[in-house]
């Protein structure tokens, strides 16, 4: 049950709901399980619920790590 996607929060709605955007598609999901979500944040969405926020800084670090680790290979 892992299928979950990072989507951008477009708009907050009442009752712990929000509109998220993924590749030009918008959907209403629940943000009852995350805290401090603001429009512009990215959240991981699973079965209609946001489960965590995506940390932009860590995301960049990870991408950099891919490049770095594969560069230092074969030494």
């Amino acid at each position: 049950m892992c299928l979950a996607l990072p989507a951008m929060v477009k708009e907050l709605l009442p009752d712990d709901q929000a509109v998220v955007l993924l590749g030009g598609v918008s959907k209403e999901v629940s943000v009852a399980l995350v805290e401090d979500v603001q429009p512009g944040d990215y959240v991981i969405v699973h079965v209609g619920y946001a489960l965590s926020k995506v940390d932009a800084a860590e995301a960049e670090k990870t991408l950099a790590l891919f490049a770095q680790m594969s560069a230092t290979a074969a030494q």
Partner: protein, 377 residues
């Protein structure tokens, strides 16, 4: 798509794959288990195994909650669905899982039972509100990623005093499954199934955090790398595991740091703790009885427990003879080792859960990887 496309970049994949090839020591075998069904699917769908050297093998673990759901629980759900006046709500993955006598929720639907597919637990609550004259039951399954949404709707059902709604709870726990695999006699004995390291589940970890895996790394001296969901994440995690193994380390590393923290999602954990408690023991398909591995609804919410409302009797139904799902789920056998694979058992007529769920090792191999058999033949 941001945070998706960058992690699917083919050029970077080739670089990481080259690194793995360079660092995997010749003459040494690396047997890595990806626990999470989503990872199994990613590996198959992107053909990641084609990029790995021959001595780095992926073993598909039991992280697919559809695959580990025992026949008896499917039979219970079918029984509930057949009860007059009931609307059974279920995730799509469960519709074709075969129960006893090849029955399934899809077939029961064709017979006239009101079985509805939902994308979200919240949809089932809405159906209950829209149909006050019906008994609506939500067939809840999943690991720790899917449990919090069920917890949220359970609380909502109580707050709304919704008395035509209940939940058939089959939520299971990841650490228990991992422990069960590591403790199985075949794995503990050296030389039987060597299991060198784990790719930790992606989204389960966003909820439970990375801390629970420390125990495994220490106790069993096997490295764990928590990996994100995208193919580059998986390749990177494989590289990190190979490095740990080469260096004799057995640590928990977090490749999915953009979404996983040490503590995980406290809010989600709290909601789950409010409504669920541990079952002393629960049957898993293929793994048998596993203690403290599953959740049931707590007493204050008993009114919304379908097992009580429908007086569900535990059924222990043996798997189809010759079905090797159990061994495959533990990484002991491969799909091609099963006598039924591709003959009696195909996605059109699945004999066991490994074939019916798109993430099951057998379905993944059939759907994406079968050509390898013919190319090698």
């Amino acid at each position: 798509m941001k945070y998706i496309d960058e992690y699917r970049d083919g050029a970077m994949a080739k670089k990481i794959a080259a690194a793995i090839k360079a660092e995997a020591e010749p003459g040494r075998d690396y047997a890595l288990m990806e626990f999470c069904g989503g990872h199994t699917h990613a590996i198959s769908r992107y053909g990641i195994e084609d990029l790995l050297p021959a001595n780095v093998r992926m073993i598909h673990g039991p992280g697919c909650p559809v695959c580990v759901l025992p026949i008896g629980r499917v039979d219970n759900a079918i029984e509930i669905a057949r009860t007059p006046g009931v609307i059974l709500c279920t995730y799509g993955d469960l519709l074709r899982v075969p129960g006893s006598k090849r029955a399934s929720l899809l077939k029961v639907k064709a017979e006239g039972a009101d079985v509805r597919m939902v994308y979200s637990a919240a949809d089932s609550l809405k159906i209950a509100q829209d149909h006050p004259d019906k008994q609506v039951v939500f067939f809840a399954i999943g690991f720790e990623t899917t449990t919090p949404p069920t917890a949220v709707i359970l609380k909502q059902a109580k707050a709304l005093k919704l008395n035509n709604f209940s939940i058939f709870c089959n939520h299971v726990l990841t650490p228990s499954a991992i422990r069960n695999i590591l403790e199985s006699p075949e794995v503990r004995e050296l030389g039987t199934v060597p299991l060198d390291g784990f790719i930790g589940p992606a989204h389960v970890s966003t909820v439970i955090g990375s801390r629970p895996y420390d125990y495994f790394a220490e106790e069993y001296q096997k490295p764990v790398v928590i990996a994100g969901f995208e193919p580059l994440d998986v390749l990177q995690a494989i590289l990190m595991l190979v490095r740990q193994l080469n260096e004799g380390r057995f640590e928990v590393e977090n490749e999915f740091s953009r979404a996983v923290t040490i503590d995980g999602n406290r809010k989600a954990q709290a909601v789950v703790a409010e409504v669920f408690e541990l079952r002393r023991i629960f049957e898993w398909r293929g793994l048998g009885m596993v203690p403290y591995s599953a959740l049931r609804i707590k007493e204050p919410f008993a009114q919304w427990d379908a097992e009580k409302r429908f007086d569900i009797q535990p059924l222990s139904v043996p798997d189809v003879k010759a079905c090797e799902c159990g061994a495959i789920l533990r990484g002991l056998k491969k799909p091609a080792d099963c006598r039924l694979f591709g003959k009696a058992c195909t996605p059109e007529s699945p004999m066991g859960s490994c074939m019916v769920s798109a993430e099951g090792a057998c379905a993944a191999y059939w759907t994406y990887g079968r050509f390898r058999q013919s190319n090698n033949a």
